[in-house]
């Protein structure tokens, strides 16, 4: 049951930070509330003060700067806004593709990308695509503003580098290199994903000129798998599929993914099974992203 709390509705970021600073551990940022209120109802979290940041004008921006090639997503932009933004659909189709598959309509309607990152529940999708884009978050606190890559921001289950009085204000997403194609495979039968594998590839003259791989949900946090990218980069497509040599190459990359992602055994399945799935889906994702 939801215990009584005081609701603060600041209209500027500074005001929000000062309320957070004032009440310390007794206060929490309240965006869509899809995680927060659930956890409070279950008695897992308890706060006397909630700071609703949805009343801060402009914090829900979804904006693209042509000159820098960077998409700015404000802290209160919802999954639904990203799913439906024509701009995102056109220039960041990986985002709209994944956002369309996040949770359910009710959660997407109110849940925010910022809230998803700050909560850092391991069974999540956005971390994966943000890692593929090399996205950064901006945080503002009493000590000022700072930027950090999403990769460094998420530390582990329910753990980020965010200080209690810091507000995540924006997420900055640079465009993928011209000619990139993507695949995102989401697997599982529970409400939340058991596995998310994202892959971005650029094919040049029949070879894999560039590749990025990220994995989420199977382990404590989403990860980029740079050694596997390295291993696959430059491979010719003919070498990638359908022969024993390619199978050995993919096995190796699959192992690297498993090492990086550190699959855990939980209600979604055993670590062994998740490792197996990573290998299976690596191949599927590669085919999807390279073959059209």
């Amino acid at each position: 049951m939801l215990k009584p709390f005081q609701l603060h509705e600041p209209t500027t970021v500074e005001e929000a930070i000062s309320v957070l600073g004032k009440f310390g551990d007794d206060a929490s940022v309240y965006a869509g509330g899809t995680e927060l209120l659930l956890a409070m109802k279950e008695g897992l979290l308890s706060y006397d003060h909630l700071v609703n940041i949805k009343a801060i004008p402009g914090l829900d921006v979804v904006d693209y700067d042509e000159s820098t090639g960077v998409l700015t997503v404000g802290a209160t932009a919802t999954h639904r806004a990203l799913e439906y933004s024509p701009l995102v659909g056109e220039k960041f189709s990986l985002i709209s593709d994944v956002e369309h598959r996040v949770a359910n309509v009710r959660v997407r309607n109110v849940g925010t990308l910022g809230g998803n990152l700050c909560f850092a529940e391991p069974h999540s999708d956005p971390g994966v695509f943000l890692l593929l884009y090399d996205a950064e978050v901006e945080l503002v606190g009493s000590g000022g503003a700072r930027k950090q890559s999403v990769e460094d921001f998420i530390l582990g289950p329910y753990e980020t580098t965010r200080e209690p009085d810091e507000l995540l204000t924006t997420i900055e997403v640079p465009r993928l290199p011209e000619g990139s194609r993507h695949a995102y495979i989401k697997f599982g039968y529970h409400e939340r994903p058991s596995l998310g594998l994202g892959l971005v590839a650029r094919v040049d003259n029949g070879t894999l000129a560039d590749i990025r791989i990220a994995v989420g949900s199977v382990g404590p946090k989403p990860v980029r798998v740079r050694n596997a990218e390295e291993r696959l980069r430059g491979a010719s497509l003919a070498d990638l599929f359908g022969n024993t040599q390619s199978s050995a190459l993919l096995d190796e990359a699959g192992r690297m993914m498993a090492e990086a992602a550190e699959p855990v055994t939980d209600l979604h399945g055993s670590a062994e099974y998740k490792e197996h799935l990573l290998r299976v889906f690596l191949e599927e994702a590669l085919e999807e992203a390279t073959r059209g």
Partner: protein
């Protein structure tokens, strides 16, 4: 027949789609307090001390209930086995068991009071599994860990095995699953000097009344159970659950009390029995079944609830609809330190059919016989006694099975459907079983014909989503020859409507519907008496049509006859319907009828991930007469979908007595994603049931047959036999891993 047999619109639809319909949670009773329960954090422990003094002293708290307050009564209850205390006494037997309850001015105060209650426990060894329960020298949940045992046999099974050419022995397991009705258990209780009134989300209002009267020492007339709309039951609201706790708390707080459980609390209050079933089956090389020995274990959790009947019914159903010259069945319900298990749609049926129908397919494979042919060879026919001492089979399973086979495209043992994708394989499977349905034939109804010729049928059947209100009205309107909109149904208030045993076991249309029809007939007899006098004509020259009694070219309306009788626009006629074991017709033994469970399924298995997709599912139900065909299909499809749930992913996971997944994020129920692309219900209508217009009940059958049909389809697709449910992708993948070497049947490995 103009009304019966028509898919008329159900009367509650607007209430439900607009959210106007009132459920117990929506009701407010003047002076009502709000209750919260302090649950045990431990699955098995002695209660050394409870100190609730601080909670009692909290302003806004009206009363705190602990075992201490029940000293003046015998506080143990249950549907048959009275082993459940109203609130934990001396020890707790499952994590989540109510240890104290608070009634307060609002929920916040009640919650705050819970924090002030101090309980000291001494942990006891946890009986986490049925194996623990059976271990020599293990701790005991009650006096012993055996809750109930049933046994029957005929022929001589040992001799039968000696006669057999082949003997198969396999063990199958079935998981604990939860009903997940949208509305958790909710009750408002008022205890005062006049007696007890409860507003209840319950399926068996009269059984709740009877048990409350017994517990609190009142005569039946002083206990009233009022049931508004119920947000789904599926058995989770059968018999009696949290009503005694709410009444005792009201008695303590001296005011009405609302107790609304969370999903988590409800999931720990009742679930389906997990099962482990070992079948030893002897057959001849030509496929004739000779002998079977069935050893069933069912996990009833901390309390019996309805576990004794589930234990019996699982035993009744485990041989399947086959004729066995020699049979031995032993079924044991065992206590463990987990939430109690009770009734769940088709009690004991899914567990029994899972084991039996999986093994029948395995036998067919080993003998090289088509599984359809093997079944047809051994099936009982209508009129055959399939269970000694019970009514003969009244369902034509063979016809149903052939229909299902045709519907799902069964083309024989070797004829697998083809798939275009390289990772996937397709297969078709069949399964059939019978459920001894109807519980017992004790139902009554009252039909009132008002002075204007409209009518009210009064029944105890609870509108639990199945559409009973519409169906009862259709039956009354048809029998009385009046328009459907002239019939209202008043239901499920024990102070107003007459007795019915229960809303469950596919029984209401058959038995309560029959009572309504008998009540309407009694009214018609009175109308004949009146019209006979009016026309000065013998009754056999009279007929009924359009709210009138007709005599040749003349007619007189019911309204006119009633007015003549009462001397003005007043009065009414009353018709009684009694359905008892003495009622003429086939209700003399049990079961009331055998409900057919027949399913054909086509699946696609992804061999790389183990994921199963159900492409086509056809179920066949023998309904006798569909009063409302569309609603009947809805019931059938609902049962099939619920079966897909426990087949593919539903499982309550307990670890050392702690429930790990009491929410929909971690416990997956089927959604529209799982609705098979081809989803068909075939209704057999021979108008041969014991109910009104030849109807018999449906709504449970498919849930029993879905799992084996799917597992048999997975076997045809992949050659892998899995004997544990649910068939999660990982379990299927593991089985495929273990099976790829030989390409033949292997058991799934147990997951770590």
């Amino acid at each position: 027949m103009a009304i019966v047999g028509t898919s008329t619109r159900r009367p509650d639809y607007l209430d439900k789609v607009t959210g106007k319909g009132a459920y117990v949670g929506d009701l407010e009773i003047p002076g009502m307090a709000h209750a919260k329960v302090l649950s045990s954090p431990l699955p098995h422990a002695r209660i050394l001390r409870i100190d609730a003094s601080k909670a009692r002293a909290l302003p806004g708290v009206f009363g705190v209930l602990t075992a201490h307050e029940l000293g003046d009564m015998d506080p143990y209850y249950g549907s048959d086995i009275k082993d459940r205390p109203i609130i934990a006494i001396d020890k707790v037997r499952y994590e989540g068991e109510p240890v104290a309850a608070v009634a307060a001015v609002d929920l916040e105060t009640a919650e705050a009071a819970l924090d002030l209650i101090d309980v000291e426990y001494e942990e006891l060894p946890v009986i986490a599994t049925m194996n623990d329960a059976l271990t020599d020298g293990a701790a005991t949940v009650h006096q012993s860990n055996l809750c109930h045992e049933s046994h029957y046999e005929w022929g001589n099974t040992e001799e039968g095995f000696a006669e057999a050419d082949r003997i198969f022995e396999d063990t199958f397991t079935f998981p604990m699953v939860y009903h997940y009705s949208l509305e958790p258990h909710t009750v408002i209780a008022r205890y005062d000097e006049l007696g007890i009134t409860v507003w209840d989300s319950a399926q068996h209002p009269f059984l709740v009344r009877n048990e409350l009267a017994r517990l609190f020492g009142l005569s039946l007339n002083r206990v009233q159970v009022v049931v508004p709309y119920v947000g789904g039951g599926f058995g989770s609201k059968s018999y009696i659950k949290i009503e005694p706790l709410a009444v005792a708390l009201s008695r303590e707080a001296k005011r009405p009390v609302k107790l609304a459980y969370s999903v988590e609390q409800s999931a720990k209050t009742v679930r389906r029995h997990a099962a482990s079933i070992t079948l030893k089956t002897g057959v001849r090389n030509d496929g004739s079944f000779v002998a079977r020995d069935c050893q069933i274990r069912l996990d009833t959790g901390a309390y019996a609830d309805n576990g004794n009947r589930v234990t019996d019914r699982c035993a009744d159903q485990v041989p399947g609809p086959y004729l066995w010259p020699h049979l031995t069945v032993t079924s044991k319900g065992l206590y463990t330190n987990t939430g109690a298990a009770g009734s769940f749609r088709a009690i004991g049926g899914p567990q029994a059919a899972w084991a039996s129908e999986s093994q029948v397919d395995m036998i067919a494979d080993a003998l090289g016989i088509d599984p359809l042919e093997l079944r047809l060879k051994n099936l009982g026919a209508p009129g055959d006694v399939i269970r000694q001492g019970k009514n003969p089979l009244d369902a034509d399973i063979a016809t149903g099975l052939k229909e299902a086979a045709k519907g799902v495209g069964w083309a024989g043992r070797g004829a697998k459907p083809v798939t275009q994708e390289k990772e996937t394989k397709r297969g078709i499977g069949l399964a059939c079983s019978v459920l001894n349905a109807g519980a017992s034939p004790t139902s009554t109804a009252l039909v009132r014909l008002h002075a204007d010729g409209s009518a009210t049928a009064m029944v105890s059947t609870v509108e639990v989503g199945q559409g009973s209100k519409g169906v009862m009205a259709q039956i009354a309107a048809e029998e009385l020859c009046i328009p459907l909109e002239k019939v209202g149904v008043v239901a499920s208030d024990t102070a107003i409507v007459p007795y019915d045993r229960s809303t469950g076991a596919s029984r209401s249309t058959t038995l309560v519907g029959l009572a309504v029809q008998l009540g309407a007939k009694e009214i018609k007899q009175q109308l004949l008496d009146l019209a006979s006098k009016h026309f000065e004509a013998p009754e056999d020259k009279l007929a009924f049509a359009d709210s009138s009694v007709v005599f040749g070219q003349e007619s007189i309306t019911y309204a006119q006859l009633i007015r003549q009788m009462f001397g003005g626009p007043a009065g009414e006629l009353m018709g009684r319907g009694y359905v008892t074991p003495q009622t003429e017709g086939p209700l003399k033994g049990l079961p009331v009828f055998w409900e057919m469970a027949v399913v054909g399924a086509e699946v696609e298995v992804n061999e790389k991930t183990g994921a199963i997709r159900v492409l086509r599912l056809v179920s066949v139900s023998d309904i006798g007469k569909a009063i409302n065909p569309k609603q009947a299909e809805g019931q059938d499809e609902g049962a099939a979908m619920q079966g897909i749930g426990h087949t593919l992913f539903e499982e309550l996971i307990y670890e050392d007595g702690q429930l790990l997944n009491p929410n929909l994020v971690d416990y997956r129920v089927p959604s529209f994603e799982e609705v098979p692309d081809g989803f068909e219900t075939i209704l057999i209508e021979n108008e041969d049931g014991p109910g009104p217009f030849g109807a018999k009940g449906i709504g449970e059958g498919p849930i029993a047959a879905v799992a084996p049909a799917i597992a048999n389809a997975v076997f045809q697709a992949t050659g892998v036999r899995i004997k544990e449910l649910p068939l999660t992708p990982e379990r299927v993948w593991r089985a495929l891993q273990a099976g790829t070497s030989g390409g033949h049947k292997v058991d799934a490995l147990t997951e770590g």
